[in-house]
């Protein structure tokens, strides 16, 4: 009896140890999966189950993936349709159409505007459980380039919310600006005159795009390519390009735009950086002098002593060029 019991006891213990070790093996499987993944970089596929509670709406598709767009130059707006599809197990008729909404936000865009679209979404297609909404998104010329997160949301009639922010909208850059006036004039002056400022400046620069021009390092800047202003009757005489200067303000004696600081001097056939100029982006239509605007003031620092009486212009040369970079 004791023998039998003893043999039988050993067998049970062995089976127990075997099962115990197998259990450890099974548990270790899960542990080593993560552990080896961490130390070797090897990956394991894990299947995640998604539970959708019956009766709560679910936005399962926005735009069919990533969308791209380019903005029109100011003052034009750019419209874009954004669609999203909602699933509601109890029936699409229980979705509250008036709550369908799209928000877009520029990723990493400090100071960028969050666009809230409410009321512009309409249901244009639906079946028993699905409804597709189309939203008209309006963007403006100063909206920054980059990836904008699209957030779509809707409520059902019991105020259960569905939300999806898995899609982005890529907006490209638009570099654009206007200058006005495009012709400068000077009051009458005599040969040998100094520090003569234009009488129809400032030249107004308006940023009609979504890229800021001008930074401290000069990698982005506002620059001017000057040419000699040549006599129309006798083209052997001219106002030399390097006798002109420009600045972003005026006033003082001599006028600051004539001050002769090397920063504001122009050169023939060479883009000279106007270091003080910054052309910000923004809604310039609000009418102030700074939003999306910059001003340039021009000066002829000296007219040659030998210049004869005649009209001087750029007609025989290329016009001057203002460039943003």
């Amino acid at each position: 009896m004791k023998k039998g019991k003893g043999f039988g006891g050993n067998k049970n213990v062995s089976v127990f140890i075997f099962i115990f070790l197998l259990l450890i093996g099974v548990i270790a499987f899960g542990y080593f999966t993560g552990f080896f993944g961490k130390i070797t970089g090897l990956t394991f596929t894990k299947n995640l189950g998604v539970n959708i509670t019956v009766g709560v709406p679910f936005i399962w598709n926005v735009m069919n993936g990533t969308a791209t767009m380019q903005l029109a130059q100011g003052p034009l707006s750019t419209s874009r349709e954004i669609n999203f599809t909602v699933y509601n197990a109890v029936g699409s008729q229980f979705l509250n159409d008036s709550t369908a909404k799209i928000n877009i936000t520029l990723v990493g865009g400090v100071g960028e505007v969050v666009r809230n679209q409410t009321g512009d979404c309409t249901r244009y297609n639906s079946s028993t459980s699905y409804a597709t909404y189309t939203c008209n998104m309006t963007m403006w010329w100063w909206d920054g380039p980059g990836n904008w997160n699209i957030s779509a949301s809707i409520l059902d009639n019991n105020s259960n919310a569905a939300y999806n922010s898995s899609t982005t909208l890529f907006v490209g850059s638009t570099t654009a600006f206007e200058i006005s006036p495009v012709n400068l004039t000077w009051p009458g002056m005599g040969a040998g005159s100094v520090n003569q400022t234009s009488d129809n400046d400032p030249m107004n620069l308006t940023n009609t795009g979504n890229i800021v021009a001008g930074n401290a390092s000069g990698t982005s800047n506002v620059s001017i390519n000057a040419t000699n202003v040549v006599g129309e009757t006798n083209n052997l005489f001219m106002l030399y390009a390097n006798n002109f200067s420009v600045w972003t303000s005026t006033g003082g004696s001599p006028p600051i735009e004539c001050d002769g600081g090397s920063a504001g001097n122009l050169s023939k056939n060479m883009f000279a950086n106007t270091t003080s100029a910054v052309l910000p982006k923004g809604n310039y239509t609000i009418g102030d002098t700074s939003t999306g605007r910059e001003q340039l003031w021009f000066c002829l620092r000296i007219a040659g002593y030998d210049l004869p009486s005649q009209a001087y212009s750029t007609v025989n040369m290329t016009p001057w060029t203002v460039k943003i970079y």
Binding site: G6, N10, V13, S14, I17, F18, L21, L22, I24, G25, A28, F29, F32, T33, F36, G37, G41, L42, T43, F44, T45, T68, L71, A72, P75, L76, G172, T174, T175, A176, F177, I179, P181, V182, N183, L184, T185, W186, P187, G188, M189, G190, A191, N200, M203, S220, V229, S309, Q310, A311, Y312, S313, V315, M317, P319, W320, T321, K323, I324, Y325
Partner: protein, 196 residues
Amino acid sequence: MKNANKIMVRTGILAGLIALICISNISAFAVSSDYWGGHSLQLNPGETKEFFLTLQNLVGTSDLRVKAIVTSGSAILKLADSSNVYLVPAGEKKNVNFKATMPIDSKPGQAYNVKIDFSEMRDSSSGEFGFGTAIGQNFDIITMLPPEQEPTGVNKNFILLIIIGIALIVITILILKKTKKRKPHKKIKSHKKRKR
């Protein structure tokens, strides 16, 4: 001095008249791009990509002629159109096509800065001190990093776990055998003790 005064008057009057005629003119065009200073084009070594930038003349009232020149990085970026002068009708857009080719020997992460100048081509009329506009586009073309090798992790780990499992089974068997061998000794000893 009298001569100087004559110069002054004639120049002043002529310039003033022209200014009154032209003062309302506005020069405006735009360049749209998927690439800019903060958003580079990425290519594999030896890869060629065709893309376009778009000229806009949507708010202007007259047609524009715009000249495009690659001013930096022309070794890898070239204009793909037959002419580099583009007529952009008022209210319309025009694509400017480019072809970028990454050198075959470029190293991963290597950046090539490219610059393209778009200049409005404008003629001056008599008496005008005229201005045009230009837009510079500047972005990097970067050699892509080699794609990370997709590890066949599941298979390798699966094999590893099988080995661990087999090792555990072997250890279990060994323990069982040792246990079996030890038991008879104990029994003999207990017999001896009883005899004493």
